[in-house]
Symmetry: C5
Subunit: 115 residues, 5 copies
């Protein structure tokens, strides 16, 4: 599993049948090697059974775990899903933006829901 | 799953039996760490059950999910497949080329089907 | 499996049912390519059936192995778990911080439980 | 699956029983991030059920797909195999060496079987 | 599978039951992107059913393949194992240290068992 942030959503008409009705989010991994201010979007696409909002921190799981989170290890045509929406994170050496509960895109419009 | 773009096709006569009749596409992951203008091709090869066109944005899944998208988790000798052709993407912090519905190779011949 | 260090913990209220009651730790891989002094946190999130402490070195396994370590290969919505807490490591060419049994964050407050 | 080139072969006497009689090749992924002229060998090792030659371009699959390509998803102690030998590749933006049907190691002895 | 070298061993008292009695080695992937002389240790940890020695070149497999190499695809809490000890390697473009049968740590104490 990895810790990431919801940075986008993607829509598709032509897709595998099992993806019908699934919300597909783009999640960016939190990663200390990124430069501050750099455009922070990576193309991990995952199913979202939990209703995560743009900018929220989430935990993403792969493979069987992702399918289980969406209702069982059936024949699903996806292998990544959000399995948790993060309430709190305690990682003392992490970069400051990891501790922002919602997306801080480098400036003025950063929301801070937590002191 | 990852978000990518179809950048090529590959043909093979000698191959595992299960690949017979399967269209094999080369898909490049969208990745913000690439330099603008750099040759943007990475060698992810995947089966294409959906008929994606050169330059289109697609979602690629791996493992069981890839086989399911091609008709069930049978004994297939591949583990990557296109599971969706992207209609629309909303990722505000992504690099501009992510929002091109078809391949923009840096200049004049870029098609823009969407304003 | 990889060798890492516990660098944080994460909490979530909204999550897949199978994660209820599971302790979720953030583990940083030991990696010789990091610069000394750099913030050393990467977002691998794993279940912890062994009770690892902050700063300890652990071995993390993925997939079926992770689920087995947590009680069997049932339908669990996670695919990473701590499978061992390291007592000792003999890797002569490894960077010095690998041999610290607990987290050395670059200075004064480093605990050294082992000579 | 990924697109690569056969750059070596490896032999082992002490090995898992299931590897007996299996030809083990070293395959280098085609990757546009490499510098021209750099030594281009990476240590992906895979079983070869198709008889690929040194320098040829191949498609490598992992996991169940690799085992299927070698005769079924039995209890095999390997998880990578060549599943296709490339005849032709159409990837307009790829670096030139991708289009060489056999290994071009930067100079005089490059064979060019295709115009 | 990947080609690597045994660079260490790790011991743990608190661990998943299935790891009891398993020798756990640290294996560094051979990788042409490393600088000569750099500390060459990466934290891949794997079970060793073959008795590999420090410095030897080995092939490491993941997942089901790793479990098969250790006696079957049972409920094992690991997913990486040494499946072969390399006798010989023919990779003409590989860096010289790949061809050392045992560890060459950059100088005087390098053992060379093979001319």
């Amino acid at each position: 599993m990895f810790l990431g942030r919801v940075v986008g959503e993607v829509w598709a008409t032509r897709k595998a049948d099992d993806l019908a009705g699934k919300r597909l989010l783009v999640v960016q991994a939190l990663d200390e090697r990124r430069e501050p201010g750099a455009p922070k979007v990576t193309p991990v696409v995952c199913a979202d059974p939990l209703g995560a909002a743009y900018g929220q921190r989430v935990i993403v799981a792969f493979g069987k775990a992702a399918r289980v989170a969406c209702g069982g290890d059936g024949d699903y045509a996806f292998e990544a899903a959000i399995v948790a929406i993060v309430d709190d994170l305690d990682a003392p050496l992490a970069p400051p933006e990891w501790n922002e509960p919602s997306l801080n895109d480098g400036g003025a419009d950063a929301r801070r829901e937590r002191g």
